[in-house]
């Protein structure tokens, strides 16, 4: 990032190559729409480019891009007001890479998406950052703009719900 602020264009590409795939997975999990996920990733880097002069040299870039991306995802949800209740029925329409995946894998992926969709947005983003992005609670709290205690409570509730939705399904498999 320091090289990029100094005007090194190649450094921008290196940042995109490093964080782009991570953000793409993140946004896909939230939005279940490849086109929209791509747009949000591009918009994240567009905003990062605009905000580069705010970056403190030597600090971590990951929380920055995560916060920008999560803000955009939240803004998207707010705009579309898409908080529809979904069931655990398997729906393969929007599954990523659906055409190339065996049916069983596709169904697993879909199951995860549907389970995550059943969580409130505030819990889903905590699971996303804590579990999938492997961020500690303190960092998650900074990214979502709340206290660490509140993040722990959200995570606990989210994992309890996910366990009910997903682990009971494992027993069904067995």
């Amino acid at each position: 990032m320091d090289a990029y602020i100094d005007g090194n264009e190649a450094a921008f590409r290196a940042l995109f190559e490093r964080y782009g795939p991570i953000l793409l997975r993140l946004t896909r999990r939230h939005l279940r729409n490849d086109e929209l996920a791509e747009e949000i990733v591009q918009q994240t880097f567009f905003r990062l480019h605009g905000a580069r002069n705010d970056f403190r040299r030597g600090s971590k870039l990951r929380p920055w891009v995560m916060t920008i991306a999560m803000n955009l995802v939240r803004e998207h949800w707010r705009r579309t007001k898409r908080r529809k209740m979904t069931s655990l029925e398997v729906d393969t329409r929007a599954a990523p890479e659906a055409d190339f995946m065996p049916i069983e894998l596709r169904q697993r992926s879909e199951l995860l998406h549907v389970a995550l969709e059943r969580l409130p947005a505030s819990q889903r983003e905590v699971v996303e950052l804590h579990w999938f992005q492997e961020r500690p609670y303190a960092e998650v709290a900074k990214i979502v703009g709340t206290s660490e205690g509140a993040v722990r409570v959200r995570a606990h509730r989210a994992y309890t719900t996910l366990k009910q939705l997903l682990v009971s399904e494992i027993r069904g498999d067995e």
Partner: protein, 241 residues
């Protein structure tokens, strides 16, 4: 994935890992195309005034806005006659100070860095309500009787003139704040509130027509029109991400 005692129970953890393994990151060609598109957008934006202003550091953007506000405020203060000495009461001064403080708060909200969590929606809505509320409240603080007696308040025309002037004065404030806004949610609503406050500040300082009805219809309506009008326009024209 997550460390020690913080991780969810093993059964769930394994299940999440297993289900997530099917989701692949983007291919190299896809990432390359995305980067090219995004870079072109950045380059195009860098060549515009908006892009230039928005890419300044947050400190610089705030200084730019404060400087413009100060210059306009001082120029207006000395260029146009203030209301009479006997009308410069404590409530009048308090109104001006309140408008100034709210204007600065709105400016801080609009120029909030994008790498910080977005402000909750209620704070922006609250800002708009407080801005309109302050202008309405200011209209109920009475002028001294001596000042009121010197005016024959004719209503309609003067109200229209004040409203027009207030709206006109608010437009540059709104435009400036939108120019330095990096895309905060509800930034338009907060900028509209600031525009209404700026218009009311100037009217309060220079308009010597007394009367609550005049201030309500000619002054407070400016803030209301900005908030409702631009809030609605923004909502209608807002594109999905």
């Amino acid at each position: 994935m997550t460390s020690g005692s913080e991780r969810p129970e093993e059964g769930l953890g394994e299940r999440l890992r297993e289900l997530d393994a099917t989701d692949s990151p983007g291919s190299e060609a896809q990432m390359d195309r995305m980067f090219t598109d995004m870079k072109a957008r950045c380059d195009k934006n860098d060549r515009t005034l908006t892009g230039f202003l928005r890419s300044r550091s947050t400190m610089a953007r705030r200084l730019i806005v404060l400087s413009v506000f100060s210059v306009l405020g001082f120029a207006g203060w000395f260029a146009f006659p203030l209301i009479g000495d006997n009308a410069r009461t404590v409530p009048w001064t308090a109104s001006l100070v309140t408008f100034c403080v709210l204007l600065v708060v709105a400016m801080f909200m609009v120029t909030r860095p994008v790498h910080l969590p977005a402000l909750p929606r209620w704070q922006s809505v609250c800002m708009a309500c407080v801005a309109v509320g302050a202008t309405v409240l200011a209209a109920f603080w009475p002028y001294p009787a001596a000042q009121a007696a010197t005016h024959d308040h004719t209503g309609g025309v003067v109200v229209g003139a004040c409203m027009g002037a207030g709206l006109l004065l608010g437009v540059p404030v709104y435009a400036l704040l939108r120019l330095v806004d990096r895309g905060n949610a509800f930034g338009s609503l907060v900028a509209a509130s600031a525009a209404g406050l700026a218009g009311n500040f100037v009217l309060k300082a220079h308009c010597s027509v007394p009367g609550t009805s005049h201030e309500l219809l000619g002054h407070a309506s400016v803030a209301l029109l900005f908030v409702v009008g631009l809030g609605l326009v923004h909502r209608v024209t807002q594109k999905p991400t």
